[in-house]
């Protein structure tokens, strides 16, 4: 029999207060942080203007290697965008309750990473004024066109999927912030809440919409990274000649996405004092998923190495030598050790399976996954197609600056979102999860499930009402 957690009123009150706290007040440190990010972004914009003015000659992409850190970062950001929607949707579909307090963060990461990631192909274009020609003269048969369509579809779907479960929390903010809140906030929450009152009809409609989106967003998310992989796999390059690039990229995307969620969770938990709602449980379960994906990634890598290495065509010999004994050996070694072996070992031993340990493992993985994309692109392009020597690529200051600006933009949008949207899905935590035994101030009691229509429901005003008569 399913169980519904008993929700102590004081616990719920603390959750609502803490969940809405970032929306109520803003400290000096926050503005200093925003200012710092804006300075980095301004520098990146200046460097981008230099690139626009002079062309891509100011980048390291000058000789044979025409994809650099712009495309690497594009794949990286699109990858971490899978964290959110895919993870959140899969866990919602499987009715996992532990993830309720982190779904919002995961969905944030998706939308923001997509927004930032989608900028990189434009930056990489050089002549960004010609972007409209993609739509005027683009061909349906081109994987590049599929990529544009897939990302646009995914960004729209993810935004919708982020918005749906936030509606009851917008209503909560509308009713709880009070007249002390700035007028723009009150108007914003009023409009964004869509008149939510938590009536049975509204709840039924919202449930239907969320169910639809959580099912449709999973294949859309998978298709996006598959299409991203096809940009590589459908290019006539020795290093990209692989039929497993699709699932390999999807697995890599989820892998880096989980790492991104863990890091964001650790940071926001500390900064917003969410220790009571984001506990070791979330870190542990996400850590287990991370560990599982280290094995999946190792499997895919070994599959590539064994199959292509067994045949060892001429170009592949060069490629393997570059990775294993050549100039990319340190990065390749880090990818294996820092990206797969050490995170797996951290999760294997109970003593290192702590919040700090899991966060450290996530940082190792995230860095390794950026390096993985670097190792796909740069050594892949170094394999000579004709009788010429392999060329070198190293990003210039312009490229590093623009990458730093993009990372700063990612953090800026997350920081701004955290001030506008409740960072925890308050209503879902209350209704579907309840307090953890070791986190609740009051003893947890469990009682048998009552019919859904009779369940205590959190109204917009944050009070619990019961419709009908309890048995």
């Amino acid at each position: 029999m399913a169980e519904v957690a008993y929700v102590p009123p004081a616990w719920r009150e603390r959750l609502e207060t803490r969940g809405l706290a970032p929306l109520r007040s803003t400290g000096v440190r926050y503005w200093a942080w925003i200012g710092f990010l804006l300075v980095i972004i301004a520098w990146a914009v200046f460097e981008y203007a230099t690139q626009l003015n002079n062309g891509l000659i100011v980048t390291g992409m000058r000789d044979r290697i025409s994809w650099g850190i712009y495309i690497i970062s594009f794949v990286f950001f699109i990858g971490i965008s899978h964290a959110g929607t895919l993870l959140s949707a899969i866990l919602r579909v499987t009715k996992a309750r532990w993830q309720m307090s982190v779904t919002r963060m995961a969905e944030f990461i998706t939308v923001v990473a997509l927004m930032v990631g989608a900028l990189f192909p434009l930056i990489d274009m050089g002549r960004v004024d010609r972007v409209l020609e993609l739509f005027q003269y683009g061909r349906w048969q081109s994987p590049l066109m599929w990529d544009i369509l897939a990302i646009t579809t995914y960004l729209t779907g993810s935004s919708l999927y982020l918005y749906l479960p936030i509606i009851p929390d917008f209503a909560l903010a509308r009713d709880r912030l009070g007249p002390a809140a700035p007028r723009w906030r009150r108007v914003f929450y009023q409009v964004a809440a869509l008149g939510w009152r938590g009536t049975p009809e509204q709840r039924k409609l919202l449930d239907r919409a969320m169910t639809t989106m959580m099912i449709v967003i999973i294949p859309v998310a998978v298709s996006v990274h598959t299409v991203v992989s096809w940009i590589f796999a459908m290019t006539l390059r020795v290093a990209f000649n692989s039929s497993v690039f699709g699932p390999f990229f999807v697995a890599g995307a989820i892998f880096s996405g989980i790492a991104a969620i863990i890091i964001l969770m650790a940071v926001l938990r500390k900064l917003l004092h969410l220790e009571e709602w984001i506990t070791r449980t979330q870190f542990l379960y996400l850590g287990y998923m991370l560990a599982a994906f280290t094995l999946i990634m190792a499997y895919f890598n070994l599959q590539e190495l064994v199959v292509t290495g067994y045949k060892m065509e001429a170009g592949q010999t060069f490629h393997f030598a570059e990775l294993m004994t050549g100039p990319f050996m340190p990065l390749y070694a880090y990818y294996w050790i820092g990206g797969m072996i050490v995170p797996g070992l951290i999760m294997l031993y109970p003593r290192t399976r702590t919040i700090a340990g899991i966060t450290f493992a996530a940082v190792l993985v995230l860095v390794a996954m950026w390096i993985e994309r670097f190792l796909i692109v740069v050594p892949g392009f170094r394999v000579p197609l004709m009788a010429y020597g392999a060329r070198n690529y190293f990003p210039t200051l312009v490229e590093w600056s623009i990458l730093a600006g993009a990372v700063a933009l990612f953090m800026l949008i997350i920081s701004v979102f955290a001030k506008i949207f409740p960072i925890i899905s308050i209503w879902e935590v209350v209704e579907h999860r309840g307090p953890e035994p070791d986190a609740a101030a009051e003893p947890r009691r469990v009682r048998p499930t009552i019919r859904p229509e009779l369940r205590p429901q959190l109204t917009a005003a944050g009070t619990t009402t019961t419709e009908g008569v309890q048995p």
């Binding site: 599929w146 729209t156 008149g195 939510w196 919202l206 639809t212």
Partner: protein, 205 residues
């Protein structure tokens, strides 16, 4: 086969331009005869042959012949190597080439010479007809309507004048279909959101 090849060579020889043998003091002079089809359609392969003969008209066997085409990209024009072939006992080298540009393409057969024979070459033009499409899908699975324009007889694109030229843009119907389904689902979700708002209005009344 050899006889057939020679017969074709002889028949097409009328279109060939016979180049003057390269002057060389040591090695014996040679001459090359080239035979190409006068016209092909863009995307079709073309069989080309060249015969290397010495000064007495005897065939030179085992000579390496390089077939090139004069092609331009942006403002640069140069000879692009299409194929290499060795001559047989009849002095004939054969190759299948794939031209991907329309217009009159000058194809050259060049014998670089060796210790006993001097270098020589010959050129002929092939008229490549069709649209001005630069590249045609040369390998992989061809799905009509997806990565191949459905211009086969009987299709709507073939029946409607001018429609064929539109197909490359609109032939990605499977992609379009999937997109339409997904966006329709998004649309239905947005409609549900409107119903949430309408429900709030009804409750307020």
């Amino acid at each position: 086969m050899k006889r057939l090849a020679l017969a074709i060579l002889s028949a097409l020889a009328a279109t060939a331009i016979v180049a003057a043998p390269a002057a060389a003091a040591g090695p014996a002079p040679t001459r090359v005869r080239i035979a190409v089809p006068p016209s092909i359609k863009l995307g079709e392969g073309a069989g080309v042959q060249a015969q290397v003969l010495d000064a007495s008209g005897a065939p030179v066997a085992g000579a390496l012949v390089t077939f090139t085409a004069e092609l331009g990209f942006l403002e640069a024009t140069n000879d692009v190597v299409l194929a290499d072939a060795r001559t047989d006992k009849a002095g004939v080298a054969s190759a299948d080439i794939d031209l991907r540009t329309d217009g009159s393409i000058k194809v050259t057969a060049r014998f670089a010479g060796d210790a006993e024979h001097a270098a020589s070459s010959a050129s002929a033009a092939i008229q490549v007809g069709g649209s001005s499409q630069l590249y045609a899908q040369g390998a992989g699975v061809k799905l009509p309507g997806f990565n191949e324009a459905p211009t086969a007889p009987g299709t709507s694109a073939a029946l409607l004048p001018g429609a064929a030229s539109l197909w490359p843009r609109f032939s990605g119907w499977p992609v379009a279909l999937v997109l339409m389904i997904v966006w329709s689902i998004y649309g239905s979700v947005v409609v549900v959101l409107f119903r949430v708002t309408a429900s709030a209005r009804r409750s307020a009344q």
